[in-house]
Structure formats: C-alpha cells, structure tokens
C-alpha cells in the first residue's frame, strides 16, 4: 500500500489542464491546411495529381482540399513548387457537415456547431457513446480510447464510452464501414434509444480513407447512418477528437 502511495506521489497529478490551456503539440503536427491560391502558377495541377485520394479540387478561387478525403500524407505539400499548401498546427478540424470539410484556405473554416437546443438539453450535460470500429485499422480506435486515460480524463466533461448501445446516446464510428460490418453497425445504431447522434472519426469513417477505392467497404459512415459530427485525420489527434466532442456539446468557450 505504501508503495502505491509513494508511486502516486512520484507520478504526480497528470491530467492535462485543457481546455484552460492548450497542450503542446509536436512541431511537425499536421493540422488545418493553409492554402495560398495567389501562389499557384497558371493551370498548375501538380498537387491534385500527387494526391492519392483525389482530395484536391480546383474552383474559381483556386485549389480546395477536402479534409474528409485527406489522409494527411504530405504528397501535395511536396508536389507544390511554390509552397502554396502547408499544414498548420491548428488541431481544430471537426465540422457539422460533410461540405464544411472542403477548405479553400481563404475563408474561415466552418467548425462544428453546437447540437440543436432540444438535443443539447437532453445530451449536453451527459453524453454516453458506444464506439464501433467498422473496418478501422486500430489507429483511430487507440486515439479515441486514449481520451479515457487520466491524462485526458474524458469523464470530467460528462462524456463516457459505454459498454452497451442500450446505455448510449449515440455512436462514435471509426473505419470505412466494411461490407462485413454493415449489418452489425446498423443493428448497433438501432439498439441506441433516441434521440441519438452519430460521430464519424477519421478519414476512413468519413470517406473510406486509404481504402476509398475498394469495393469491400462502403465509403464511410454517412453511407449507412446520418452523421452529426465529422472529425477528420488519419488518425485524428486525441485533441482534435476532444475538440470536436466539446464543440458539439457547446463546452468550448472561445470565439468561433
């Protein structure tokens, strides 16, 4: 017993002070991309050609990057001769709609909205989530799981992962939804009592990620269920996931 107490003293209090303070992210962390269309040479499509998941499109205002498809490989950054694309250290990537994930880097990125008034009244103070991996590579899964450790201590925000869909207010889904998981995912969703929400975590869950061209998967959660929150990344950093969850519940006090 004394050993345990001594260790407890040595290890100290290690829960992150987030959201009061932002934890330090590594210098090479890849967050929200910045695109400077003015730097793009005429008719240059090198970034789009380099992208292995067709995440880059070209419109009137120049290139746009679909974070729902992006697997955060730096192919576009490396391909650009002018340095027009760069990933910044901004971890706040979650959105409420699929369309909002397409960023041109010139206008403000439309981050996730708070749940509607009625849903917020019901779920805002206590959100129980059932996590379903539907073809995920265990990358998103481990970084979802890590929020339950004492460093992040998800419980202090009133959010908890629960063992049964019957006890849940919603699903947090990772993976592209493989054909072999479609039925299980649908059944799990049906077992969650309403009102309920669905959160798609990671490139796979949003559009199929590195497997978006494969017929063994369905191209993301939205092909099966209505999605309320999209959290992009391959995998998203735990801070990005937590940021998304807190935005959804209106628990982040910062200018939008």
């Amino acid at each position: 017993m004394m050993h345990i107490l001594l260790s407890r003293w040595r290890q100290g209090h290690r829960t992150l002070p987030y959201p009061k303070e932002l934890p330090a992210l590594p210098a090479r962390f890849q967050g929200l991309p910045r695109i400077v269309a003015a730097k793009c040479p005429e008719a240059c499509r090198l970034c789009a050609e380099a992208c292995p998941v067709e995440a880059i499109g070209f419109g009137a205002s120049g290139p746009s990057l679909d974070l729902g498809r992006c697997v955060f490989c730096p192919a576009c950054v490396e391909a650009c001769p002018e340095g027009a694309i760069a990933f910044t250290g901004d971890h706040r990537l979650a959105t409420s709609s699929r369309e909002a994930l397409v960023t041109t880097g010139t206008e403000s990125y439309a981050r996730a909205e708070v749940l509607g008034a009625e849903l917020k009244r019901v779920l805002g103070r206590s959100l129980k989530l059932r996590v379903v991996s539907a073809g995920g590579c265990n990358g998103c899964e481990v970084d979802v799981n890590v929020l339950g450790t004492l460093a992040w201590d998800l419980g202090r925000f009133g959010i908890q992962y629960v063992a049964s869909p019957r006890h849940a207010d919603g699903l947090l889904v990772t993976g592209p939804v493989t054909r072999n998981m479609e039925l299980a995912l649908r059944k799990t969703y049906d077992a969650v009592p309403g009102p309920k929400i669905v959160i798609a975590v990671g490139a796979c869950a949003i559009q199929g990620g590195p497997y978006c061209h494969r017929e063994e998967q369905l191209g993301g959660v939205a092909s099966v269920l209505p999605v309320d929150l999209y959290i992009p990344g391959c995998p998203p950093h735990p801070l990005t996931i937590l940021d998304g969850l807190l935005r959804l519940l209106g628990k982040l006090k910062e200018p939008r």
Binding site: I4, R10, P52, A134, E141, A151, A184, G209
Partner: protein, 501 residues
Amino acid sequence: MSRRALTIVKNGQPVALTELGPLSVADFREAILEAVQEGDRLACLCADSQLRLFAVLADDAGKTLRVARTQLDQPRYPALTPVCPQAHLFERELAEQYGIVPEGHPWLKPVRYHRPWTGGEPQPLPLPGVMDFYRVEGDEVHEVAVGPVHAGVIEPGHFRFQCHGETVFHLEIALGYQHRGVEQALEGGPHPLSLKQAETAAGDTSIAHVWAYCRNLEGLAGVQVSTRAERVRGLALELERAANHVGDLGALSGDVGFLPTASFCGRLRGDWLNLSAEVCGSRLGRNWLRPGGVQHDLDHALVERLLPRLEQAWLETQDALELLWGAASAMIRFEVAGHLTPVQAREIGLVGVPARACGISLDVRHDHPFGPYRDHAVVPVLAESGNVHSRAWVRWRELSESHRYLAAALTDLGRTSCEPRPGPLPGLAADSLCVSLTEGWRGEVLHLAITDAEGRFARYKIVDPSFHNWFGLALALRGEQISDFPLCNKSFNLSYCGHDL
C-alpha cells in the same frame, strides 16, 4: 526431396522467379513437410491468380529462410494441414481467395468472408458470425457468443465459446469483419496509395508493416538504404514497441483490477507515442518511413530535446511496473491464466511475444536480422511458463531492451548530421520475388512481393503476426474459466485488421 533442395533467400533480398525452379506438387508438399519436421516454421503459404503456390519456411535457429514454388495444373492438391497444423489457416485462405481446394483439409471455412478473387458468379456471402461453428454437444453444455461489437473500444471479432458452467471446452474465433482488401489493393502496384495502405494494414503496427513494405521495394529496386536511415527506422520501430508494451502491461493490470499501474501506464503510453510524434508529427509513426530511407530525420536539437523525455518516460514506466510485479494479488491471477505449452506453440507456428513466452527463441531482429539489427544485436527475451505472466514478463524485459536501444540510437544520431530525403526509387526488378520480415511489437511481420514482367506487383502477400497467433489464444482458453477471457485476450492483444487485411 529434402529442404536442402529449396532455394535459400535472405530477408529483403530479391530472387528471380527463374531461380525458383517450380517443384512438382508432390515435391513441394514433401519439402514443406520435411522442413517442418526438421523444425522449420511455415511463415507463409500463398497462391496467385496463375495457380502458383509459394511457401516461405523459416529456420529461425539456423537463421535461414527458404522459398519453394510449385505450379498447380488444376485448383486442387493434397492438403498439408492434416500433418502440418501450421498450414490450416493458410489453406483456408487459398480456398477462399482462389478457389484452390486443399483436399483433406478438415474444414475450409472462410477466413475473411469476401468474394473469390477469381471472379465468377458472386454467391450470397455468409457473414463471419452467421455460420456454422464447431459445437460441443451434451447435457449442461452451453454456447456463449460474443461480438462483433464488444464492450470496450476495440475492433470487431466474433468469439464462440463452448462451455460447461464456467469452464471453456472450446473457443472458436471468427474474424473477417475488418476486411478492406489490402492485398488486392496492392496488386498492380506500387500505387500512390500503397505506402498508406501498408501503414494501415494494422494501424497500431504502422512502422513494422511499412518497413517491411519499404524493404521489399528497396530490395526489388536494388537500392541500398543509408546506415543512418536504418538507425532512424530502428528508433521508430522500438518506440512503437515500447509504447504498445507499456499500453498492454497497463491494460493487463486493469483486467485484473490493479488500477494504479493501469492508470499510470494509460498516460505513459502517450508519453512514448509523443516521442514518435516529435519526430514525424504522428503519434503512430505515420509518414515517418518512405521507400529509400526516411521522411523525417532528427537533427541535433531534436535529439537533445528527446533524450531527457525518453529517460523520464522510462523512469516513470519502471516505477509504474515495479508496483505491478510487487502486487501478489495481480501476480497470482497472471500465473494461473492462459497456459500454452511449447509443443502447442511449435505445432501451430506461434510467433512473437506469445511464442517467446513459451521459451521458443524466435525474433526476426536476431534470427533474420535487418537494417540496424545487423550491427546492433538483439537477444530474444524468453520466459518459460507460457501463461499470462510469461507474456507480460516478456513484454517488460523487451521494454527494457527497447529503451537501451533507443538511448543508444538517439545518442548516435545526435553525433552525425541529417541526411536529405531520398528521391523516388528506380523501377522494380521484373519477374522476381522478395520476402521481407520485420519484428513488430506483436511479432513477425512478413511481406512477400512477386513482380510481373513489367515490375509491378503480380501478388502482394502480408502476414501479420496475429494471423499465426489467434489460434494460440483459442488454445490458451481451453479448460480456463470464461471469465478469464478478457485477461487472456489482452495478454495476446492481437490485431483484427492485421488478420483481416
């Protein structure tokens, strides 16, 4: 036909298919059976669309890899499984992927529940949990079905227990839910997405898989990787191992209700992962390695920042784990659960931590050394009892070895300067075979590449250690209490997606 007639290959060195003279089917079978009889391990058995069969046999003690090839005239041959249980899952895979029938196999049940790769009329497919299972009949025998959606945040799989009261007579594990088509996606490659797919074949083992993939490309392209890049790759692999071993030991503590170590390790795992993130931006080592070298090198300043953090993480990890080893209530639970014998382990071709926990000396870094491990020898860490305690103990000792490697590697890397990123690789050798093995934190990761006349992948086979080891978990549960399943499962901590691909 003895195994001496087989072609010897080196880990990561290509061999032209013409040098792999096809054996007759009878000789192929006989050579494999004889090699296994003499102590080799069947590391891989696979087919391709031209009905060629390939086998990789590992003589771990003799530090030799052998490859055999045969050509089937028709999609059937006498099965190896009845005399060589190691082959059972590989042969089920052959039947599912290419419709090849190993005659005499006890049950060619699907492995991943996908359509046959040979095309043909798509049959209505069964789902992994919705089909026949081995059943024990009798009074008071009952069946327990668990999954695919589990109580924890883990991947999907279906477990079917045949129980008598609390006692498990038999456990059958049905996977395939995670099947994304990784091997087929790689065919015709390397494609722009291939590297990312190798990284996510088992996304918690990114470095071990992507390293095996890169070594296949480098071998086939005839590219030599610099000593420094190899050292950085070793750093990446050992950080991956350390983080996962810390996480597993914490989770094992949690599964026996010993919360101090569980809580500390949950956080400490993050500290180890964050060391990887400092170098490559990703906690899971994504985008770190690339064919020809590494994407991210470490300059002197970064090494200086990492060294004290490494020592701090190691000190706190030791503190957390010494508590566990000193807790008699936790130890007694570890010692009585999940027992496997060395004979069982050899018969089913177990690899990695569970094999070493049975006293079987086998570690790719030692037996078939690659990259930095040629100069920096790793001694396999062994335990004897083959139970949960042994599997935990092996992890703990390996953690210590990894820390030693990491401290030395960081110090070395700090003394020399960064290298520029490698350029694109030249084309791959045509009509060749390359087999590359790495030792991931779970065990042996095997990638086998076979190129066509244009130097594209005609077949790309991945064998995650979980493919060998899931059956070990099923055996370890026999005669145990069903309530110990979570503990036994965690002591193997196998990959679902690495198996399902």
